[in-house]
């Protein structure tokens, strides 16, 4: 269906996606099995992963099950003002809340302190940079190691996958939310800000800190020695 006010050619993918989503919702309301299968294919994995941010695995499965029921029951009230998945995420959030604070791993759903005001967390340890007073103060003491020179299995092994997952798991809750939605699920920054009710600036700080820690975890996994002598540019400079 062509929207005369917002033709897809000028508003891009977003309008196309919204139109496709509206059509899907219509089919769901009409009780179309295939539409429901498509919805499950697209969202079952993400819903479970997002639920696991907040709940133990067994509770997460219950939360997801109830979310699906909530989605179907609420379908007639869906107005398409947000994307289907942010709407579903909110339903999941409400259900996770009513499951009781006991089940929360930590602070739920963006009970945010201002992340910028928290103690500073440098993306890279200060020992990796030349100290103040040095002619090259603030520059790498030794370059980070190039990962493209490592065998690719280092990043694809089940050990690597587990390590990356664990690194996300131990992030502070607000960083874990943002990193999971942005980097694991691939949501846009707008969607994440919308659903977590945070500013773009805060979202970015949380993403930055979370991502930086996951990078550090991969660096440890890759077996990087922070100060490879052959790369000692501090001396070279």
């Amino acid at each position: 269906m062509i929207d005369p006010v917002h033709p897809a050619s000028t508003t891009g993918d977003h309008a196309v996606a919204a139109t496709a989503e509206a059509a899907l919702v219509e089919r769901l309301r009409a009780g179309d099995d295939d539409a429901f299968t498509a919805l499950v294919d697209r969202h079952a994995g993400p819903l479970l992963r997002v639920a696991r941010m907040y709940c133990t695995d067994s509770v997460a499965e219950e939360v997801v099950q109830e979310t699906w029921i909530g989605v179907l029951q609420g379908l007639d009230r869906f107005e398409g003002r947000s994307s289907l998945r942010t709407w579903m995420f909110r339903i999941l959030a409400n259900i996770a809340r009513t499951k009781g604070a006991r089940e929360y791993r930590q602070v739920p759903f963006s009970a945010f302190a201002d992340p910028v005001a928290e103690t500073s967390e440098p993306a890279v340890g200060p020992e990796r940079f030349a100290p103040g007073g040095d002619a090259w103060a603030g520059h790498w003491v030794s370059y980070p190691r190039r990962w493209d020179e490592l065998p690719e299995e280092r990043f694809l092994s089940s050990e690597a996958t587990a390590a990356i997952r664990a690194a996300i798991e131990v992030l502070p809750p607000n960083q874990r939310e943002v990193v999971t939605l942005r980097d694991v699920e691939g949501w846009s920054s707008e969607e994440v800000c919308d659903v977590l009710a945070i500013s773009a600036a805060n979202q970015r700080v949380l993403l930055h800190r979370g991502r930086s820690k996951v990078r550090q975890a991969i660096e440890r996994l890759a077996g990087d020695r922070p100060a490879a002598e052959a790369h000692d540019v501090g001396v070279a400079r």
Partner: protein
């Protein structure tokens, strides 16, 4: 190394691949290239690496303002370490994205289909005829 060659390798002066000894030998004899080297080093010092790494997310999100973006691009040309760091961040993001690989759970799918049919039946039951 002559001046022409020196100018072409100047941006990569600190890179591992650059023959720095040859460049230094040339600089020792050429005042003009000594100035060029000093000027390049000043450009590099304009943005220390420890500041660069804190701007990386903004850079990848494309939200740094134009002057900062220029400083970062200039720094990237001169600093192999920060180029590597930026690559590492890209690999990090791609690695996390792979965690979202679909995990098919046929039992859950069947259970959900039952939920859907029950919902539909209930809805048809309630619908005004």
């Amino acid at each position: 190394m002559d001046c022409t060659r020196f100018v072409t390798v100047l941006d990569g002066y600190f890179d591992d691949a650059t023959d720095r000894a040859a460049a230094d030998a040339h600089v020792a004899e050429c005042a003009e290239c000594r100035d060029r080297l000093a000027e390049m080093q000043a450009r590099l010092r304009d943005l220390p690496c420890n500041e660069f790494v804190e701007l990386v997310t903004g850079y990848l999100e494309d939200v740094v303002d134009a002057p900062d973006r220029d400083r970062m691009d200039q720094h990237l040309r001169l600093c192999e370490g920060c180029r590597t760091y930026l690559d590492q961040m890209r690999v990090t993001i791609a690695s996390m994205r792979r965690l979202a690989d679909p995990t098919d759970d046929p039992a859950a799918r069947v259970a959900l289909q039952a939920v859907f049919r029950a919902w539909r039946q209930d809805r048809e039951g309630r619908a005004p005829r």
